[in-house]
Subunit: 345 residues, 2 copies
């Protein structure tokens, strides 16, 4: 089959690899219907150490169950399924608490002998805990929105939940990528009345308005901070969702958060150390939270709204390509020509 591998910065190739097969009784093999390219895939695209064997790519996919191991009970061959971006047993204490990203027996795609979703098929470990069957056909118009439940919608929602967004909290979302935009949608769903979106791509921020943003701030750095403060009587907002992952976005978050407020990070941090001392987090009692979203947990919460058409998170996809065109898709997303790219396997 064909599958996507990255070999170093800017070096993405679609290559032939062996078809995945059941290795353990709890495995399933899923034929991918749609996958996509993630903003977080651009981090290794910029800075991955070159490696001759390459790294398989893709952590978001929906597809059809092709085969199951003897100990798989909750999905059957032929089921349409959503795969969240971490695989998990669904039974350990962390899974029961809704933190499937810390599952005692789980893991992430593209690590060890578990490969990625930007491919024709994927071996899914712990299929019972991981996969969510949905009663739709593989040509359903809902598929882009269902695919967002793999990662970006759940990640935006995680940001809002961890930030404790509610009807009485003002919110700033930093970043107009798919996660930022779906954080806006999530904040709106959780009742926020005042949602400021910081982003400078008009087509994206227009979608942000459609999802619920009440104000757009295109400026960045000190100017951006000043603009948010002007919109909030000098105070900043109760919640700041950081959906980028680079240090300037973190610094911006510090600049626009209200004393006693929360910075909720879902952009994968591309730094290790950062300011958290008296002058930044401690003095004003700022809480810093966030992390990889337990997307599996949020599928149960968010799926009904997708199925009944009350939300359309799939609008973040603005281009669809074939699997063999994935390298060009990376380039287009990196050049900000495309917001988020849907991949036909």
């Amino acid at each position: 089959m064909r599958a996507t591998y990255m070999y170093g910065p800017g070096d993405v190739r679609v290559i032939d690899v062996p078809d995945p097969i059941i290795q353990n009784p709890t495995d399933a093999v899923v034929r991918v219907v749609r996958s996509c390219i993630c903003g977080s895939d651009l981090h290794p695209y910029h800075s991955m150490p070159p490696t001759p064997e390459g790294s398989s790519m893709g952590h978001e996919f929906v597809g059809i169950v092709e085969d199951i191991g003897s100990d798989v009970h909750t999905v059957r061959k032929g089921d349409f399924v959503i795969a969240p971006f971490a695989w998990s047993d669904g039974t350990c204490d962390f899974c029961r608490e809704g933190l499937q990203t810390s599952c005692r027996h789980g893991g992430f795609w593209n690590a060890g002998d578990v490969h990625g979703g930007q491919a024709e098929a994927v071996r899914v470990p712990l299929a019972d805990g991981t996969l969510v069957p949905v009663p739709v056909a593989e040509d359903s118009p809902l598929i882009p929105s269902l695919l967002t439940l793999s990662d970006v919608y759940g990640t935006g929602y995680h940001a809002a939940v961890k930030g404790r967004v509610g009807p009485d909290t003002s919110v700033t979302v930093i970043g107009d990528g798919a996660v930022g935009l779906l954080a806006v949608l999530s904040a709106k769903q959780l009742g926020a009345q005042h949602i400021i979106l910081m982003g400078r791509h008009k087509d994206r921020t227009d979608l942000g308005r459609e999802f619920g943003a009440t104000d757009i701030v295109a400026e960045r750095g000190e100017e951006g901070i000043a603009a948010v403060r002007e919109l909030t009587r000098g105070d900043g907002t109760h919640v700041v969702i950081e959906a980028v992952g680079h240090m300037p976005a973190y610094q911006q978050a510090i600049g626009v958060v209200r004393p006693g407020g929360v910075i909720s990070r879902v952009g994968v941090p591309q730094y290790s150390d950062a300011p958290i001392g008296f002058g930044t987090l401690f003095g004003p009692n700022i809480t810093l939270t966030g992390g990889p979203a337990p997307a599996r947990a949020y599928i149960d919460t968010l799926l009904p709204g997708v199925l009944d058409g009350s939300v359309h998170p799939g609008k973040v996809f603005d281009r669809e390509i074939d699997l063999d065109t994935v390298p060009e898709g990376y380039r287009a997303m990196d050049d900000r020509e495309a917001l988020k790219i849907l991949v036909r396997a």
Copy 2:
């Protein structure tokens, strides 16, 4: 009157200064009955840039109202009062939300023309918002416990509240100073069943056991982390209260917090940057919270238990000295000869 000033590392002097007087209609002048030396006073004692004019010291005191301005209504001359470690108007939105340390018109002792509590008397700005009258005599045996409401008890309680300690959360407290010990007491009051205290001074950890600690870990660094993990089936605890402020304590907190858990800092951080990247906070979805406690807010919550004798936070005081002996008191606390020193003004 006599008042304590610090001029540089290790250089504390009790000097003659003018008696405080009412400057604004909202001021009160309080004659200090008892003040004390705080663990956080030891930070400038180690590293304060030398200054010829000195810096007034002390932010915890109880006393008798000696004079009030024309616009003070909630305390009267002769009232016994507790002064929390920040002064605040009690009416702004932050005060109403219980974040008096971010009061729009308030501030901290020993800044500008507001002086400190390690003195015979103090001018208290915004007396209505700041001072809490308590119906006790100035020779009441409750005074040490009432004085802890100025700072250390409220600070320990803040750590537990911000960490969301409850009956189902395991807790590690790092630091066996007064704040750490009162964080143990607070965690116990909030229902925690499993409280690990990390400290290596047996007299202090014995008091920690009395306050509710179920386990003591005397080791520090990697050994300390291993010991806590052994007590928690390898996981660490849901909540870690960091009551020290130095980088090794922060690193220890990272090492003993359970995935999805909370690090609640109340030790004043003596660093600005620290690890918060994927491998520390982000990957395991750790929340970092804390800051200066709005002690004023917690007095309402904690005072009844002190008055009815159900808790005895004043046990953290293990020595009482006269004001003129304060420099020796700093030395004794710094040398860990004394846990916390009560000062007779």
